[in-house]
Symmetry: D3
Subunit: 243 residues, 6 copies
């Protein structure tokens, strides 16, 4: 099996690190790293739900994604300064929220809202997948915080969720693309899976030439293996005691 | 094979209609209908390209998607009145643009820009897939308009592109969901394919429970067949002479 | 009497067509055409009224006007993308709402709101007057829908309303200007009248040289005759049965 | 002839005052008063014209209208704070600009731009007509400023322009409505005329019942007389020497 | 002691004028002038307080500052047109509100809100300090208006407040800088003081070289003397009877 | 001398830490901490200057400040989502930029621009002063980066700059307030000083009762001592070698 610029195998994740409780005031928080990609996720719990959901007995989980202006190689203008949120930001915020909601039992959560803020401090490819994987960890801590206050009506987390990118670079399918690989990819796919190994979201895009079913199958295999490994790392991080 | 509310087979498209040249002033235009879903697509050609592309000798294709306020069952506020474009609109505009660009040879297009405006006049599910399928037809007419003026450096269309939704409703995979089916779907997938039968975009989302690889494969099969049929209908529409 | 580029007499309307129920989900809708000008009007009924009117027992009617980006000969940027509504759009929306409200008995309407969305699909002059004339037809259908549900406290429509443009082109007053005539006009006037032949709105503007009282009188005569004919066509359209 | 709340005759203007050079830094400025209505108009001259007009040899004149938050009886939120300009503001700004441009010879003005800022300091009805009448005075002073610098290619002012409101209150047509009259009017009309007595803009609106041709004629007569008197007052103000 | 361009002594204020009740509809208003700088301040009283303060029994005072586009030597675009309020405007609005709130007894004011709109009609340096000094006068009149209606629970004004700028120009500290002095200043300081001679706000900025403690002390002395004189002028203005 | 909640002396700083090169892609970066307050500062260098400064031979330095939504004890909405930047953000961004520019020799910097992004990851009082102190360190690294590329025309840093808050809490003046102290302060002052011990900015505000000259003097003494210590820590951090 051919190796890559950074020496990784084609089916190998970058080094993944979770630093829980990076923030002292949030109900859950984690600094998640996929190699050089660093995302700070904060889970904020508030009692009550948005107006359209009041009185339903059901909770709500949502997410916002953003990037610091110098997370990238050259500086980008702030969306607050531009006065509008770009399409890419909107798209990723929606994807993260949808992915986390797929493992939530709203009834067990009760009328509580959890907002997951995913702020990319440094970007080196895979910021949306790192955000999802980290958001699950922060969410689990926020749920534990609610449990500690007897504010739950059951177990709101029906499974874990993790995400990874896969892609075809120079004709070769590979796992967890860094920025330079991502820029050169013909096909780019983000895969979000439950801890049980089922699909929550599959988004594949032909950046160059369209791809055939065989390539699609290879990418799904790589992504499935990657998510399985990430789920294991999440469990280990959540089992560790934190300061 | 079980049939559906409107009597269709599970692998059957709704009636698809293309009314070319619906607008008299646009370089290409089509009113595309997937059953009750009606999208007016206008292709606008302008000489020149965005600033970041000037002098490259390469063309550009982009798209904007929007919905009239009463395209849906209850009225939605206008995004122009709200002063901001929603995440869903951004996401779909980006998807359409990306899908069409996948079949463009920028060098052959030369320094020309084609904007594809997809305005949903009536919505009954599948507005983004109808937009893509219709946009290809309008794009082909706009390219023909450029060819008629000797403004091309070759054949800019390397293939056709069509799109369809598939989903799992009540445990059953089916093709081309109307609104009531879409609302009830556990899994929803949009598939964009080239005329050659390769994938340009695959976006599958678990609205309810996550789905396994077997379901994913069934949905890909259904979508592939649907896109093949749509490509045939596009060819027929483009071969017909218009007023 | 001199005839025009398209062969019309100076006091002749373009061909006017009303296609009622163009939309299947709106309480009232019409595709109105003044020659090549095509406006899709949707009347949306909602129970209740804006906050400042609650508990008054009175209804409300309002309107929003917009143009698709390629309704015109060259493409215009979307107002949703620009993030703000232009002065012209505001002005026309206000004019349409005011014109329709002039024939409404709010007490008979009861605490219901009707929004008239006028979206210009294709523009060839007279888009605001076609919008008003069409909006009356859609409004009448929406009122009939309310009547069918016993949701009215009387007859809310005290009269019909229609509108037409008149102008002086090359020194000659004429009725219902198309785009090329409008662009060349020295004086441009929009006239909104009730079915009873009284004025609801008169807006005359000297685009070139100011005009004298004699010209003003001639334009008012032309406009009065045009609105009388439009009122007749509205009645005929509303008496016809629709699919 | 019946008199009014403030003792005026039906065909009588309120006291009109022009305080020229109210600002020390603007090329032209006037505090114009129609009774309690006070508008500060500043004419700002800049060399050059907007991009779309460059190289044409023609000048440009435009206007912006706004109201201080406490110009009215109760405070209104600032449009800068709301982040958007309302329809009424847009509409009036456009009307003022159009009215002044009707008396401009762009060629004589040369490639200079004059912006007329009309800021309502206190509002008691007729703010748009006072703005137009005052703007002409400020414009004349700005043109004189340009003439003093030999920056003109001829006489840019082909005539003067003045405006006044007329309306039907309690069944009686009257001139120059103050706020309480305006609020009670069934019909409200703004008339903009040249010094030569021809019409530049006529905008009549039925606030209550539609009006017939006879009423329209009476209002036009009243407005014509009012504008004639205003033109006389403008001339007197411009002939006076100022500090 | 060296004198200045306009002949003033270094520790001398420009001519300060207060024209109370400049507006007929506001509960308090003043046209305040510091030489050529003219600010129109309107105090608007409304019953009730913002939501976050309801039921507290406490009142609220806030302020908004803005400049007319041609208050300055060259025209500035309107913030309403730009669609956003600039940092400088925000900063000054906040400063004025904070300064006035420092002399308010909220309990005595009761659940009433007073908004102080400070609109700069002409700017020649010191617009923020003139705004604060004038705002106190308008506020005092608005409080008197409330007292006249028995709407107070005590005396809401615990002291007066006045403000002045000081700066170092060409190495020399001086009081109340006009625009040309302000532009040339190395150090610029705004001082807000109570009538009792204590500090409410001190804002000193090194525009050129940083300044030492000795200069800071000199500026504080000059500003203290200036504010004492302004407090005397405020008392005189408020004791005078007005039309 | 009385001690505080966290055991500090009245004239003692919290623990101050600088982690240089926290970002791998920025030309300069530092994670600066004042106790629990954590600000990530990135210095971005770009060749060239804003348009209004082109061809002058002079450089430019500017700053943007922002806070992550969950930097605080309860979550705040994002300014990008609200579509506008608040007054506090504007005010602090301007203060930071002004403070850093006070120690820059623009000629030596040449036509280069350095943007200092200060993003508060966690807030516990003093975020603006920590931002300034950290921004100097990131700026120094960015200047070193430019020097390493021979892109400077001299030494652009004429001095260092550091900032600290002081305040009166419960009648006692103290240095470097944490959030709970800041909330309880009667007087709050931010002091920005050069390494040479001169003042760049002094901003004192009476949150409660106005303060007298004696208190002002005490606060200036405390702040001067704090800035001297911070300048020493900056030097130490910049002299240390980094990974």
């Amino acid at each position: 099996m051919t190796s890559r610029a950074d020496g990784r195998d084609l089916d190998q994740l970058r080094e993944v690190r979770f630093t829980r409780n990076w923030l002292s005031q949030a109900e859950g928080s984690v600094l998640v790293e996929y190699g050089q990609t660093r995302v700070l996720v904060a889970a904020s719990v508030t009692e009550g739900v948005p107006r359209w959901r009041k009185g339903s007995g059901l909770g709500w989980v949502t997410s916002e994604y953003a990037m610091l202006p110098r997370a990238t190689n050259t500086r980008n203008d702030r969306e607050s300064v531009k006065g509008r949120i770009g399409g890419r930001t909107h798209e990723i915020s929606r994807l993260i929220g949808r992915s986390l909601r797929a493992v939530i039992d709203y009834k067990a959560l009760g009328e509580n809202t959890i907002v997951l803020d995913c702020d990319v401090l440094q970007a080196d490819g895979g910021t949306r997948t790192a955000s999802i994987t980290g958001a699950y960890v922060a969410l689990a801590d926020a749920v534990a915080w609610l449990r500690g206050r007897d504010a739950l009506a059951g177990e709101p987390l029906v499974d874990s969720v993790a995400a990874v990118s896969v892609g075809v670079v120079g004709g070769t399918p590979m796992l967890d693309l860094c920025y330079t690989e991502d820029s050169a990819a013909d096909t780019d796919m983000n895969i979000v899976m439950s801890g049980a190994g089922t699909f929550i979201e599959v988004q594949g895009t032909a950046e160059g030439a369209p791809f055939d079913r065989g390539v699609l199958d290879e990418l799904l295999d790589l992504g499935t293996a990657g998510c399985t490994e990430l789920a294991r790392l999440q469990r280990a991080a959540l089992e560790a005691s934190v300061a």
